[in-house]
Every structure is written in C-alpha cells, then in structure tokens.
Symmetry: C2
Amino acid sequence: MSERLTATYYVETPLSLSDAAEILAGEQSSGTFVAVPGETEELKAAYAARVESVEELETVSEPSLPGSRSPVRPAHYTRGRITISWPVHNFGTNLPVLISTLQGNLYELAQFSGLKLMDFTPPAGFVRHFRGPAFGVEGTRLLTGVGSSRPIIGTIIKPSVGLSPEQTASVVKQLVEADIDFIKDDELQANSPHSPFDRRLEAVMRVINDHAQKTGKKVMYACNISDELDAMKRHYDRIVELEGTCAMISLNTVGMSAVKHICDRGELAIHGHRNGWGMLNRHPLLGIDFAAYQKLWRLAGVDQIHVNGIANKFWEPDDSVVASIKACRKKLGEQKSICPVISSGQTGLQAPETYRRVATTDLLYLAGGGIAAHPSGHAAGVAALRQAWEAAVAGISLDEYAKTHPELRQSMQKFKKSD
Amino acid sequence: MSERLTATYYVETPLSLSDAAEILAGEQSSGTFVAVPGETEELKAAYAARVESVEELETVSEPSLPGSRSPVRPAHYTRGRITISWPVHNFGTNLPVLISTLQGNLYELAQFSGLKLMDFTPPAGFVRHFRGPAFGVEGTRLLTGVGSSRPIIGTIIKPSVGLSPEQTASVVKQLVEADIDFIKDDELQANSPHSPFDRRLEAVMRVINDHAQKTGKKVMYACNISDELDAMKRHYDRIVELEGTCAMISLNTVGMSAVKHICDRGELAIHGHRNGWGMLNRHPLLGIDFAAYQKLWRLAGVDQIHVNGIANKFWEPDDSVVASIKACRKKLGEQKSICPVISSGQTGLQAPETYRRVATTDLLYLAGGGIAAHPSGHAAGVAALRQAWEAAVAGISLDEYAKTHPELRQSMQKFKKSD
C-alpha cells in the first residue's frame, strides 16, 4: 500500500460540504470510472482520492465566484475546510502532475463558488526524493559571510529598466562600498538590447570581485536569468564562470519544470521572485495559499523566496506576511530551510515589529528606496538598516537606539510617517 | 525608436482611473527613478511605459478584492479599461520577462481593487521572431487525415488513473476500431509506477501503428509528457521514435520556459492542456482573459489549446467559450492558427449551437462519456458525433437528421436532458 499525500482546501459551495468534498475527490482521481471488467473496485481501492475530513465554517448568502450551479436553488453557500488524500503512486515524484492533481480543473467546477488550496502534506518518503534548497538560509549566510545575529541586508538595482551595463556597475559599486550583503536585479530586467545579460554580469561581477579581493567580502548578486531555457542555462554557466553565487528566477513566469531543471544544478543559490503571485492569492476564496505555494518551490530546490514585509507597499496585510515567513521556517523533512525574502516598502523601521512577530533573523531583508533615498547616501542607508535590526534584536526601541546612532536617526526622520 | 507593445486591462480602483493607470505604468517600467545624473529624462523617454487610453465604465460601492487603499475614503470604486504600451526593447523577445512586464506585481498593488489582463497586441516585428505553432489546425488535419468538412473527433482515456499499459492499449484498440481521430491521456496520467510512460506509449503506439498499417488512418495520440524537463525530452524522443504525432503538456504546471523549449523541437504537435486555468480566470476582476492567455502560448508554439465547450460541465458560460474559440481563430502575424480543443461534457448535442456561434469546423472536438457511454458502443458513439456535426454544418436539425441516422438517434435518447 502506497503512502498518502493529504491536502487541505478552503471552499465555498451551494451543495452540502460533504457532497462537494466527494465531487472534488472524484474529479482528481479515478472517481469517474467507466466499466473496466472485473477491476473497478480494486482500482478504486488502489487509486481513488479519499475525503479525510470535512469541517463546516460560516455560511454566506452570495457566492464568491460566478458560475456555481446546484440541483436546487441554494438557501445559502457553505464555507468550510476539506481534507483530501491521494496515494503518492498516482503521480510518483512528478511535480507538474502533483500540481495538476492538487489544483488542476478544480477551480472550474460548478459545484464550488470558491476554492483555495491551503496546504498539503507529502509523506516522508516523497520528501526524501527531493534534495530541496541546495543552499537555503545556512548556505546564503555562508556565501555572504553574514552570521546569524542579523538578517542578510540587500537591495534592488533601480531604475529597473534603462541603465546600461556600465551604469548598473556604477550603482553596484556604490552599494558594495556601502557594505551591502546582497544585490538583485529587478524582475523587468533580464537580457535586453540596452543591457545585454553578459555585459551587465561582467561589469557587475568585476566590481563585486574587486571588492571581494580587497575586503574579503563577497556580495551576492541575484542576476535575473529568467528567459527561455537555453538562455537560462548559458547565463547560469556564465555566472558560475565569473564566480557569482546566485541567480534570480521569476518562478511563475518561467514555470516549474524549467525552475526545477535549473535548481538541480546546485552550483548557485536560486533567488525565487514570485511576481504574478497576487493573481494566485489575493482573492480569499480562489487560488493557492502561500503555505502550499512555498512548499512546491522548496521541493523544486529554490533557496530564497519573496514574502513581502510588514507594512509593505502592496495590498497584503501583516498577518498574511507573518504566516508566510512562518511557513518558510517550518522544517520539510531533512531539507535545508528556504530563506524568506522580505521586501516592498521596507525602510528598517519595520525591523522591531518584524522581529517581534517572527522571532528570527534568518531573513533576507531588502530595501530599495530605504537605502537609496537615505539623506547621507548608500552607506548610511545600509548602516541604518543594520542599526534598526540591532535595536530590534536587543529589544531596544528605535527612538532610544537612534540617540546614539546618527544613520538610524536620519533614516527615521526621513521615513517615519507623520501621524 | 523601438516598436511598442500595447496591453489592455479591466481594472477597479478607489482612485481616479487616470491616476491608477499612471501608477500601473510606473510600476511596470522605469517609472520610479532614483536620480541618475543627466539621464533621467532620456531614460524615461526611451523606456517608460505609457498610458495610451483610459475608458471609464461602471462604479461600484464595494471593492471586488481585499486590501485596496487610497489617501481618502473612496465614495465608490471605479471600473474601466486602460491601455498601456511599452517599447519592446524593454523585454526583447524574452517571453517570461514579457509576462512579468504584463502581469508581474500588478495584482498586488493596493491602488487597485481588481485587475485583469484582457489582451495584448505585439508589434509585427516581435511576432515575426516566433515561429508559432509548428502544426496548428492545418497540421493537425494533415496528421490525422481529417479534411475540413468536419471537426477532428477525439476522446480521453478513462479512468484517468489506475489502468495498466495493457488495459490502456485495449481501451485504445476499441477506440481506433471505432474510427476515432484523436485520443488523449488525462492530465492526471503521466509516468507513474502503475503505468510507466514508456510501457504505456509502446502498448498504445503498437495498436495505433497496426491500425494505420491496415487502414491507412493514423490516429493522433496526445500522450502526456508533463514532467521534469529531462523526462519530457526523453519521452518526446520516444514518441518520435515510435512514430507518434503528438505530445500533451499541462501548460500551467510545466510552465512557459519548458513548454517553449519542447515546442521548439517542432517534430510533434503539442496538445496544450490548460488545467489550473480556472484559478487564473474565474474571477471577473482578477487574473488574465483567455484572449491574452492563448496568445502567449501561440508565441511559445503550442498547436492545440483547450477552450471548454458549449453547455460544458464546468462553470464557464457559453459566451465566454465562444469568445475563446474566436480568440484562437484570429490571425497572429504569418503564424499557423492554434487549434481550439472543445471538451467538458460534450456529447455531440452541442454541435449545432457550437457551429451556429463560431461558424467553423476547424476544431478538435473531444467527448469522453459522450463516446464511451453510447448504448451501442464506441463505434456508434463516434458515428453519432460525426452525424451531429454533419447535421450542424448542413443546417439540418438533429431531430430531423436522427430520423435517418440511428447512432445519432440513440445518442440523443441517451444524452438529451429531459426538460
């Protein structure tokens, strides 16, 4: 008997919750049998998905999504959590087919007026098949030389589009001299005629390698290799040749099979950008929760993944961000931990609340304007971020710490919102 | 000066529509500049996204998605269409970066309470860079030997999970003897311990090749190669070796870079399954419309793509299905046309309404139960589907045509819903 993988969904349905759960299980396995002489019951026993539990929650009068149907006009729509299991031999260790099994046509079923994949739990044997992140938190710390007392501090090269390779390298020079740990491309920057990948990488790595020779500190550069597959492989090779330590990939737009293929190489830390994520998650009753999403990419071998941040500039509430960071920090078998990447509107002022809520420094903490717009320049911007985290970890208020740390003080004057 | 690509969005915002449009354009290009001495205006002119038009539509009192913010409490939320353009040199011909540009972080912007990418129009030079479908409608007709007087008729092997390779081949034998044109795997079936890809493919191709030798008719088998990249390439090679003509890929779960890489081979027609699609489209103000979605996959080189069907078993209304079929039939440069795949609850009874609304037979028309559950077996099921389409094209009512066509008559008795 094969081990089983379980998945939990938050759903809304015009039917009874238990009927809806059975339909979901049937759609995603061998539930709709045509007669196969002599074997039907055996097949069902060996391959059918099973409803493990059904938990009714609230009812609502209006459907969340259009197009639901039921035999009789529903008095209300029932929301609840349902847990389904599958024998893992249905999909083997094939991640695309696992995703088709977990999600597939479910969102199209007229028996649901809302459906979100919340989480899934693979059996230990399934997880063991996957190496997971080759670097993860520990590896990213080793490569950047940042100990565990503080987050790894990083930034994004702006403007995202339009800088020549030489201009990019000159921005990078300011940043490495400011003692930054990590620098990334914007997701809109990859390999364009005005900034060809090879020339940009060469110009940037020259600055980073020179700085490393002088100081012993190797800044991690997440160069965006998102592209067609052959180009991604060529660019990955070039990063390795030039002694870079990281490559960035837009996970949703490149897709699982190519991301896994690149991660399998294992020579560079993979910075997973989740642009497009809002489409998959912003509606409370459609798509996929981050707990499930990050698990898929960990299985693929992604080392770092974006989670927004406290008081971010996007729509996402703090509770959701905190839940995402906690999801990243849960162990998955014996795999290395994926590193949560905090970004979006971060200035360092969010450090105390971030630390209070997640109680860890195992983070990659990115600030764009928070560094570039510091009144005394990049070096002061980086220093202010470190100071904010020192204060947060020591349990000292930013106001107090700022009295003896001028870079933080300036930063607070610049970025603190007037009440 | 580079050519520009335009994209249209259906949005909802607590701001004024024109302010929201400017924010969208800024987020997806070089809009948020830090000072780059002497070049800011030049860069903006060369790289910034531009708002081309803004069209106000309805207003609503409640936001469609959570998390929107505005400086003052909004009196209402404004919906409308906005059109944005980018110089194509921003992304070159890199499809993943094009997708990041078109969608990216937009769904996360707090300035919107709804956002859907409706369509995009690439300039001719951009389209010319892409071969598009290697086979498309014409190639699929040539490979199956089905002339243009009727759709290509196909079916899905059921049960989706649990049949051994030998059992699968025996189902296929019944189907090819029933004179079917096309057979596909279910998306949950790929390469599992109980049905290893190689053994299933060999068993099925033996049946198909034997039948082709006897009759001259080569049935197209869309064998599901969705998997990690190396496995997909190996399985693709094996299909070519065994003289298969098609491979199926789950587009969303495999992802763009690997799909494009496989399509580039050009030796097999690629059957594009869109499972997971409901997540991207079912909400009217979130995600991506099929007009834009199918265009991305055509650029990648997919030959056949699923569109549901009239009176389908899923949530999708007929108008939406018709719009999808029409989107597939629009010319994209000099590329071959992608073949719309009609499926989901199809019995042939939908043929007249389908033909009335789309006025074409350039379709791959799939029926599962519509064939397997015909009272007189598979051959009668296939005959009934062809008869339904003959009647539809000739403008004869099914009731009338059934008088002289017993297979259709039985089919109607079986599948016609009692009013």
